[in-house]
């Protein structure tokens, strides 16, 4: 882990479709950024630890991302998987200020 964290401007809020996600690559880190219908914006690892499913293409079930490949679910806040024994994914803090979305990683 690098010691210093970077705050990176990502996109505008309008770039994020409501209730869906989009994939980004920030430096070398692939992340998936979502905007829930309730208005929450969050970022997690882009790739499912199961068989590499592209999580940004997944659907949301409340605050969980559902992998489009085999429907493993990961929680927006903790990254925890709903399947026993499956590792969690990383989550990244996101801020939305005046319609500008930044992520810290």
């Amino acid at each position: 882990m690098s010691a210093t964290l970077a705050r990176v401007p990502l996109c505008t809020l309008d770039d994020l479709p409501v209730g869906l996600g989009r994939p980004f690559r920030v430096g070398d880190t692939p992340i998936a950024v979502f905007r829930t219908r309730a208005g929450k914006v969050f970022a997690v690892d882009a790739t499912c630890p199961h068989r590499g499913g592209p999580l940004a293409d997944g659907m949301l079930a409340g605050d969980q991302v559902v992998c489009p490949y085999h429907a493993f679910r990961f929680h927006a806040d903790t990254g925890a998987c709903d399947q026993p024994g499956v590792c969690s994914i990383a989550t990244y803090p996101v801020e939305v200020i005046d319609g500008a979305v930044t992520v810290t990683l």
């Binding site: 210093t4 970077a6 705050r7 990176v8 401007p9 990502l10 996109c11 309008d14 770039d15 994020l16 479709p17 409501v18 209730g19 869906l20 989009r22 994939p23 980004f24 690559r25 920030v26 430096g27 692939p30 219908r37 882009a46 630890p49 199961h50 068989r51 590499g52 499913g53 592209p54 293409d57 997944g58 659907m59 949301l60 079930a61 409340g62 559902v66 489009p68 490949y69 085999h70 429907a71 399947q83 026993p84 024994g85 499956v86 590792c87 969690s88």
Partner: protein, 821 residues
């Protein structure tokens, strides 16, 4: 990355632990070590011959009989190993151990070890009978065996299982679900010779014969006979008689995998010899599971393995350096072919001085037997009704004196409290409830307290009860004790999980409240939110409201958002419509040019008579569609897929009517119609049925007289079903009309993801014919109107190429640079 252990003060000496074998024992040992001491001093490496993470072998029977999907039985997926810093060499068979150099070798890998554990399990014993290598002869041990058997069983008629033990019967049960006639062949005089005595074996035999399985005991197999193509055809017995067999599953016992250990000079008998510390002859080498022999015993069930791994983990992590394993008393509760069975000790091993207590109730297929030696229960079996099983098992396990009036073993003293709550509350938290999955009472109680109040949901959360199922009653009892009541699972009848209403009530509510979007339905009627519910509601609402439907894209699965089918590398496949499977030179050239321009990885002719372009990147989708200039084939969604046709009377010398013209007309009329599940059509020009119309959701076959026979409810996928005849019509127009009525009726009345092959038998073909052909409900005019409305609402979704529906719809990963530090 910061290199490990460079900081002074951090634990400097890590030891290398290598486990050979990633089965039940090997993986459980690793889990037990992690649980015993999260800061354990080992760098753990596991070799697994099978190319997967670790799965629950005892649930393979469920995979074979289709009640569980292979993916449901995985315990630890590959990611779990990485997460816990365990190096897994999946698909690598350890081939040599050098105990002097302390190195394990596998194809291309060398792993030095400080501590080595053998957990290589066992393999099926294949008796030296001629013909075991014929196609169609299988063993039953791994997930791949299950897949291969299931795939091969399709369309076969008869199966023979060699071996009437526990596993053989499980295999037989699994095969039954594949619609084959099953015969179980046992060499001994009765079934399950290890667990049952003759009377018990006979009772079991009667019970499973009632299920339609043929049992042949005292039968010695001479050979497996093959047909001209090298596929097995029959089992031939020593007396020359034969039983037909398209499939043979051999389940004639197991042999420990001791060779690797033997080759490096470790002492072996029937299996690798270990002492009470689970150590082999070498102080750095240990063994657990089916590959070891401990105090003369080789175990073949998981319960002893859990005890072994726990003891070894405690020892290796020094959390209990004196832990020993002194052997297991085996009492198992099993469910074989729906027959409940408890077995302990060796019942067929009766000494002249033993007292044998039996109770039989042949009418109910109940048989209880206990053997009392020196005043203690040393063996027993109970079959058909496990009422007294816990009591008998407890006498067996604790070795306490059996009641003086021996019949109290089965019937109690008459004063004993029978209440389940009483004993359940007393049960210690670490008492194992589910032996198959090693789940303790405490874990289950926690799940119940966390709100899991159905047996099903407890099973989902803890795996308890998902093995042989014999502990489900206990789980139910625990739910009652903790929660007061067991919830029945009312969700069965709901259209989608997140809205507690069946389809008719849901439709009524949605209409009265005027709910036109998925989010509105979930907000007003829902109890949660999940992707399946969103998909199901989207489909229903679209059918219900047509053009008034408020189409929220987040209620769609990725395929339905980008109108293409996602592939395993994140790219997509594009299948344009090819009406009736008829194309032209110009269209083929266009497809070819597009394939070249976008460097398409594979161009594939599909089973639905059209062409698939595979490996298209998301950002290329609009360009591909534009360049093709053809409408979407809807190959990615629950909608009308293809209409397969044969050439029919236009060219075929047998054809009695123009099947291609009807097919094209059907596809043009019904393209874009969405349904609760996919719908495939087929039209054949004569009863030779070259378009395979009799296994389509809707099939049409021209009769000898040139009329059209309309067929519904067929399938030829994982499930195969022949269509039922809906009606005969004289003209193409009539065929199109009656099919439209059927499609709309199906759309509006089927459950979410219910295919026509379930829908048609559920409603009944007579009933359907009444509704659709004879208008018994008086709704035909409405159905016709609905067809028109739906057809009018069709817009080719690929036109979104010029007008994306939401931000990023057709954009791949966006790269953002890190700011300069």
């Amino acid at each position: 990355m910061i290199p490990l252990n460079t900081t002074p003060g951090l634990p400097p000496t890590r030891k290398k632990l290598v486990v050979v074998g990633n089965g039940m024992a090997g993986a459980r040992l690793v889990e037990d070590i992690l649980a015993a001491d999260p800061d354990h001093p080992f760098d753990i490496t596991v070799f697994g011959d099978e190319p997967y993470g670790n799965y629950n072998r005892i649930l393979l029977s469920n995979v074979l009989n289709g009640t569980q999907d292979p993916k449901e039985i995985f315990l630890n997926p590959l990611a779990w190993y990485a997460d816990n810093h365990v190096t897994l060499h999946a698909g690598k068979r350890a081939t040599r151990v050098d105990r002097d150099a302390k190195v394990v070798y596998a194809d291309g890998v060398e792993e030095p070890y400080d501590v080595l554990v053998f957990a290589t399990g066992s393999r099926p014993f294949v008796p030296p009978i001629p013909g075991t290598t014929h196609r169609g002869v299988f063993v039953f041990r791994t997930i791949d065996d299950c897949r291969n058997i299931a795939a091969y069983a399709k369309g076969k008629k008869s199966a023979v299982v060699i071996g009437g033990g526990l596993l053989g019967l499980e295999a037989a049960k699994g095969l039954m679900t594949h619609d084959v006639a099953v015969t179980v062949v046992e060499m001994g005089p009765w079934l399950m010779g290890v667990q049952l005595d003759e009377a018990g074996g006979k009772v079991l035999q009667q019970t499973i014969e009632k299920l339609g399985i043929t049992v042949k005991t005292s039968a010695s197999t001479r050979e497996f006979a093959a047909d001209d193509h090298g596929a097995v055809r029959a089992v031939v017995f020593a007396d020359g008689s034969e039983v037909e067999a398209d499939i043979v599953v051999i389940s004639a016992g197991i042999r420990p995998n001791k060779e690797l250990a033997a080759e490096c000079g470790l002492a072996c008998d029937r299996a690798v010899l270990v002492d009470d510390t689970l150590q082999t002859g070498d102080p750095s080498v240990f063994g657990v599971g089916e590959c070891v022999q401990h105090r003369g015993v080789v175990y073949g069930l998981v319960a002893p393995i859990w005890e072994q791994t726990k003891a070894l983990a405690a020892r290796l992590t020094s959390t209990n350096p004196d832990a020993v394993y002194t052997g297991s008393k085996l009492a198992t509760k099993l469910k074989v072919m729906g027959v409940e069975l408890a077995s302990m000790g060796r019942v067929s091993d009766v000494k002249p001085t033993d007292e044998v207590v039996t109770f039989a109730e042949p009418g109910r297929q109940v048989y209880w037997k206990a053997i009392v030696r020196d005043g203690k229960v040393v063996a027993g079996c109970l079959l058909g009704d496990l009422g007294p099983a816990d009591e008998v098992v407890s006498y067996f396990m604790t070795e306490r004196p059996a009641p003086a009036r021996r019949l109290e073993l089965f019937f109690g003293s008459g004063t004993r409290t029978q209440g389940a709550d009483f004993s359940l509350a007393d049960m210690p938290d670490d008492k194992q409830v589910c032996d198959c999955n090693g789940v303790c009472k405490g874990t289950i109680v926690k799940a119940i307290q966390a709100g899991k109040t159905t047996v099903q949901s407890v099973g989902k959360a803890t795996r308890a009860g998902t093995g042989c199922g014999s502990c489900k009653k206990l789980v139910e009892g625990l739910i009652e004790a903790v929660n007061g009541e067991v919830k029945a699972d009312p969700s069965e009848g709901w259209y989608v999980p997140a809205v507690p209403l069946d389809k008719p009530s849901l439709v009524a509510e949605v209409k009265t409240r005027g709910l036109k979007s998925v989010s509105a339905v979930l907000r007003e009627l829902g109890t949660g939110e999940d992707e399946k519910s969103k998909n199901g509601l989207a489909s229903m609402l679209k059918g219900l409201w047509g053009t008034e439907y408020v189409d929220e894209r987040d209620a769609r699965f990725i395929n339905d958002r980008v109108h293409a089918n996602i592939q395993n590398d994140g790219t997509f496949s594009v299948i344009p419509r090819m009406y009736g499977g008829v194309t032209s030179a110009d269209d083929l050239i266009k497809i070819g040019e597009v394939a070249k321009k976008y460097a398409v990885r594979m161009v594939k002719v599909t089973g639905g008579q059209r062409i698939d372009l595979l490996g298209i990147k998301k950002d290329d989708l609009p360009g591909v569609w534009r360049d093709l200039g053809m409408p979407s084939g809807y190959a990615y969604t629950k909608a009308l897929r293809t209409v397969k046709t044969c050439v029919g009377s236009e060219f075929c010398r047998y054809g009695t009517n123009d099947s291609t013209a009807l097919g094209i007309a059907l596809e043009k009329t019904y393209q874009g119609f969405e349904f609760p599940a996919k719908v495939k059509l087929g039209v054949s020009g004569c009863p030779r049925n070259c378009a395979e119309s009799t296994v389509k959701d809707v099939g049409v076959v021209a009769t000898e007289g040139g009329e059209w026979e309309v067929l519904v409810g067929g399938a030829a996928g994982a499930h195969v079903r022949k269509t039922d005849v809906l009606c005969r019509v004289k003209t193409r127009e009539e065929a199109i009309r009656v099919i439209g009525r059927f499609l709309i009726y199906y759309r509006d009345n089927a459950k979410w993801v219910e295919r026509t092959y379930d829908f048609v038998p559920r409603i009944g073909i007579e009933e359907l014919r009444g509704i659709i052909v004879n208008d018994s409900l008086g709704i035909v005019a409405d159905l016709d109107a609905e067809v028109e409305k739906t057809a009018a609402a069709y817009v080719d979704p690929w036109l979104e190429r010029d007008n994306p529906a939401y931000a990023g719809q057709f954009e791949d990963v966006r790269t953002v640079p890190l700011p300069m530090a």
